[in-house]
Symmetry: C2
Subunit: 510 residues, 2 copies
C-alpha cells in the first residue's frame, strides 16, 4: 500500500499548511501591527498558491483513483476510507478553480479585512466598498468555475457547499420561511415582557472581567497548556492543531455580557478543535464536519448550557465573588430571567437566542441578492437598514451597528452566515439527544462539573472531525435529520420557564 502511505504524506503536508494558515489568520486579527496588513495579504496569497497546488496536483488525483477499488472493499466508516473520500472531494473541487483565482481570492480577503477594520473605525462605508466589490467579483468568477458541473441548482449553493457540504439555497429558504413565521410572533410576545438596556447593569472594569473569564473558562475545560485567550475586534476561535487552540473575546467595560457570552461561544468552537481525535492529527480528517456543526458547538455552550437554569445556579456565586454589585442582590432565577430576555437589538453577536436567527435571515437575504446580482454594494447600506426595519422593527443609527458590524463579507466569506442558523437548529437537537442519554447533566452543570457534557460531545461529535458530514453526524448522534421544531420547542419552553412568556404562543407542528 505505497499509495496509501503517499496519500498520508500528502495529507500531512496539507494539514500542516492549514495549521500555518490558521496562525496567519489568528495573528492578523490579534497581534499584527496594522501596517503589516499588506505583507500579510502577500503571505496568504503565497500560502494559498501552495495549498491549492497541493490539492490540485494531478498526482494526487491518480493516487486517489488507484486507491478507489481498495477503498470500495474496506469498511466505509474506516479512517482511511473517509480520508480518501474527503481528499477526493477537496481535490475535485480544487481542480475546477485556477490557482491564480484561488490566490487572488485569498489576497483580496486579507486586504478587504483590513479595509473593513479601517472603515469600521471611521464609520465610513466608502473605505470598505471597493474591497467588497472585488470580493463579490471574485466570488462570481469562483461560481463560474462550477457552472458546468450540473451539481448545483443555484449559484449560491456553490458557496454554501464550501462551508456546509451539501447545504442548498432551497433548504435554507424553507428553514427561514418557517423561522420567520414562528419567531416574529414569539419575539413580539416575549419582547413585550423584556427589559431595555444592557443585560447586566453597571460598569465592569476589564481587569476584573479577565480573572472572571479565566475562572469561567477553566471550569469549562480550558487549560493554559494548550489554549490562549486574547482580545480582538470580532471574537473568534482558531486552532493550529488540537494541541494549540486560540480563543478571542472583546472586553467592554459597560457590557459584561460581551466577554461572558463570547467566551462561552468561542469555548464551544475551541473544544470542538481540542477534542478531535489525536489519531486524525496531520490528516485532513482533523477538521470540522461543516461549519453548521462547528456553530452548533459554540451555540450549545453559549445558549443551551450558558443560558440554562443549572448554569445560572453555578455561575451566579462566581459572578458575585468577582463583581459584587449588582449580582450580590440577585438570585439564580433573576439571572436566568435576565440572560434570556428577548430584546430587539441591532448587533448580531449581542442578540438573544430568540431574535438571533432573524439577524441571519437578514444577512442571507442580502448576500443572496448580491450573488444573484439584484443588489449592488453601493445600495447595500440602505438595503441593510431597510431589512433591519422590516425584520426587527429597528432603525440603524450608525453604520458600525449596521452593515459594518460583521467581518464575514470582508473576509471573503459569503454563504457562511446560514451555517449559524444550521448550528442553532443542530444544537437544540443535540441538546435533546444528550439530555436523554445523560439524565444527570443538569445536576452536574449546577455543580460546575462539565466533564460528562464534554465527554458526550467528544464521543458523539468532536472526535470524528471531518469523518462524517454534518447530516450524518447528527443522524448518528440523535437518530434524526435536521429539523426546526426542536429548536422552537426548546425556545418557547425556556421563555415560559423563565417567566418571559406568560402563555404559549406557538401552535406546535407535527
Amino acid at each position: 500500500m505505497n499509495e496509501l502511505a503517499e496519500l498520508h504524506r500528502r495529507a500531512r503536508e496539507i494539514a500542516d499548511l492549514n495549521g500555518i494558515g490558521g496562525l496567519l489568520l489568528w495573528d492578523q486579527n490579534t497581534m499584527m501591527p496594522p501596517g503589516g496588513a499588506s505583507a500579510r495579504a502577500d503571505q496568504f496569497e503565497a500560502l494559498e498558491r501552495i495549498q491549492h497546488s497541493r490539492l490540485t496536483d494531478p498526482q494526487l488525483g491518480r493516487i486517489l483513483e488507484e486507491l478507489a477499488p481498495w477503498a470500495a472493499s474496506e469498511d466505509p466508516d474506516s479512517d482511511d476510507v473517509r480520508l480518501i473520500a474527503t481528499l477526493k472531494r477537496d481535490h475535485e473541487k480544487a481542480v475546477r478553480v485556477p490557482t491564480d483565482l484561488a490566490a487572488e481570492m485569498s489576497s483580496a480577503a486579507a486586504h478587504a479585512q483590513q479595509a473593513w477594520l479601517e472603515a469600521r473605525e471611521r464609520s465610513d462605508f466608502a473605505r470598505f466598498a471597493p474591497a467588497l466589490e472585488r470580493i463579490l467579483e471574485l466570488q462570481q468568477r469562483y461560481i463560474a468555475c462550477f457552472d458546468d458541473t450540473g451539481e448545483y441548482a443555484h449559484p449560491y449553493d456553490i458557496l454554501l457547499d464550501d462551508y456546509e457540504p451539501g447545504l442548498t439555497t432551497a433548504e435554507i429558504r424553507d428553514i427561514f420561511g418557517v423561522l420567520q413565521q414562528e419567531l416574529v410572533p414569539l419575539v413580539s410576545a416575549a419582547a413585550a415582557a423584556g427589559e431595555d438596556g444592557r443585560l447586566f447593569p453597571g460598569q465592569f472594569p476589564v481587569e476584573r472581567q479577565k480573572p472572571f473569564a479565566e475562572e469561567l473558562l477553566h471550569a469549562l475545560g480550558y487549560n493554559a497548556e494548550h489554549w490562549r485567550l486574547d482580545p480582538s475586534v470580532h471574537p473568534f476561535a482558531r486552532s493550529m492543531a488540537h494541541t494549540d487552540v486560540r480563543l478571542t473575546t472583546r472586553w467592554e467595560p459597560d457590557d459584561l455580557s460581551m466577554a461572558f457570552y463570547s467566551c462561552l461561544h468561542e469555548f464551544g468552537h475551541g473544544l470542538y478543535e481540542a477534542q478531535m481525535s489525536p489519531s486524525h492529527y496531520r490528516t485532513t480528517l482533523a477538521d470540522a464536519a461543516g461549519l453548521g456543526t462547528h456553530e452548533s458547538q459554540s451555540r450549545l455552550w453559549e445558549n443551551l448550557v450558558g443560558r440554562g437554569k443549572p448554569f445560572c445556579d453555578w455561575v451566579l456565586p462566581v459572578m458575585q465573588r468577582h463583581f459584587g454589585h449588582p449580582f450580590d442582590a440577585w438570585n439564580a432565577g433573576e439571572l436566568y430571567r435576565a440572560v434570556n430576555q428577548v430584546r430587539l437589538s441591532l448587533i448580531r453577536i449581542e442578540a438573544d437566542e430568540t431574535t438571533y436567527n432573524l439577524h441571519i435571515a437578514l444577512r442571507f437575504e442580502l448576500e443572496l441578492a448580491m450573488v444573484e446580482g439584484r443588489l449592488s454594494v453601493a445600495d447595500l447600506p440602505d438595503a441593510w437598514d431597510e431589512a433591519t426595519h422590516r425584520l426587527l422593527g429597528l432603525e440603524t443609527p450608525s453604520i458600525h451597528e449596521g452593515v459594518l458590524q460583521d467581518i464575514h463579507w470582508g473576509a471573503g466569506m459569503i454563504g457562511y452566515f446560514p451555517t449559524y442558523t444550521i448550528g442553532n437548529l443542530m444544537a437544540a437537537q443535540l441538546w435533546q439527544g444528550l439530555r436523554a442519554e445523560l439524565p444527570d447533566v443538569d445536576d452536574a452543570i449546577a455543580a460546575g462539573d462539565f466533564g460528562p457534557l464534554r465527554e458526550w460531545l467528544r464521543d458523539n461529535i468532536h472526535r470524528h472531525g471531518r469523518k462524517f458530514d454534518s447530516r450524518e453526524l447528527l443522524r448518528r448522534a440523535t437518530g434524526e435529520d435536521l429539523q426546526v421544531e426542536p429548536f422552537l420547542v426548546y425556545l418557547e419552553d425556556k421563555l415560559l420557564d423563565a417567566g418571559l412568556l406568560t402563555a404559549p404562543v406557538r401552535v406546535p407542528r407535527s
Copy 2:
C-alpha cells in the same frame, strides 16, 4: 527577459515563505501555548520542505544559468544582478542538502527549543541533552554535505558561512586571540574600579517599566503602525516584512537594565529590518547582509548610542520622570559611569561591553570543540563552568546562569555566536565612520533627535539589505576592512572618559 520575470516570481514566493517562517518563530517564542510545541515543529518541518524544494528546484538552476551572460553584461551593483548572485549562492548551497535533512533540522530545532525552555524552567540539563545531541548529529550530517566542495578549510567554516557569508574559523581564532589578550588586562583594571550588584539599584514595577520602554522606543523611531513589543524569555527581534517588525524584551522588576538595554538592542535589529529598501520587498535582497552586520546594528544602539554620554544626557530626565528614585538624585555623569561599569558577570546578555566578547570567546571555544568532536554534550556543563572560571574568573552557581542561559544551541544555531563579536567590531568602525560624517550627531542625540543617525544607517547599511555582503558593506560605509583596533580604542577611551579607568592600560597597535 521572461527568465528575469520568472526569477522575480520565484524570489517573491521565497520571500513570502520567509515572512511566514518569521511568524511561526515569533509566535513560538511569544504567544504559543506550550502544548502547541510539537505541532509547531511539524509546521516548521512542512515549511522547510517547501522552502528547500523551492531553492533546490532544478528549474531555478536553469534560469540562473540562462541569466548569467546577461548579468555579466550589466552593472554588477544593480539590484537584478545582485538578486541573481544571492539566489545563485542560496541555490548552490541548498542543492547540496537533501530535503529530508533540511526538514529534520528544522523540526529538531523546534523540538530542542521547547526542551531548552523546559530544562531552563526546571534547571535540569538532562531534559535538554538528548535534543542537543540530535542537533549536533544533524549538524554533522549537514557539514558532510559540503565535504567535497573544497571551499571550506574547516568543518566549522561551513556553519559560520550560513550566518556570515565567507567568515572563517581562522579569522575568528585570530580575532579572539587579540581580544582575549587585550581585554583581560582591561577588564581587570576597570573591574577594580567598578561596583557590584545591579546596574540600577531598586525595584522597578513592570507596569512602570512598560511606559518607559514605550517612550524610549518611540523616541528612537519605533511606531505602533508597524512595530510591536512583547515579552519573551530570551529577547529577540523578528520581522515578517519591513512593514511588520516585532521586538521582544524581558521585564525584570529588580533589574531595569534588562528591559532598558534589550529594548535598545532589539530596536537596532528592528530598525535594520524596517529600513530595508521597499524596492527589495518580496525579493531575496530584503534580508540582512550577514548576522555580523545585523548584530552591529543592535550593538550600535545598545552600546555606542545607549551607553554614550549624549544619550545619558537625554535619557536621564526621562528616567527621572518615569521612576523618580534613585535617578532623581543622579546627574548624567553618574548615569554614564553606572551604565559603563565593568562587572564580571555570568549572563551574556547582561554583560557590559568590555567583558561581552569574553562570553562569546567561551561559546566559540565550546561549540568548536563540539563540532570537532572533542567535547560531548554530557561533558558540556562542566566544560562551560571550567571556561567561565578560566575566562571570567567566576564560579557558576546554577545551570540556568551557565550552559542553559542561551537559546541558540537549542534553536539549532551553531556557528552563530561569533557573529556577535563581528557585530561589536563592525559597530565600532561604523560609529567612527558616521561620527566623521555627522559632526553634530552628539548634539542631536543629547536633544533626543535620532533622525540623522537613523538616516545615516539607512543610507549606508539598512537600505542595501543583502545586496552586498558584510565585508563589502563595511568597506563602502567606512572605506576600511574589519579591524579589532577601533573597538579597543573606543572601549578604552570611554572607560577613561567615564572615570572607570584612571590611566591607559593598552599599548596601541598600529
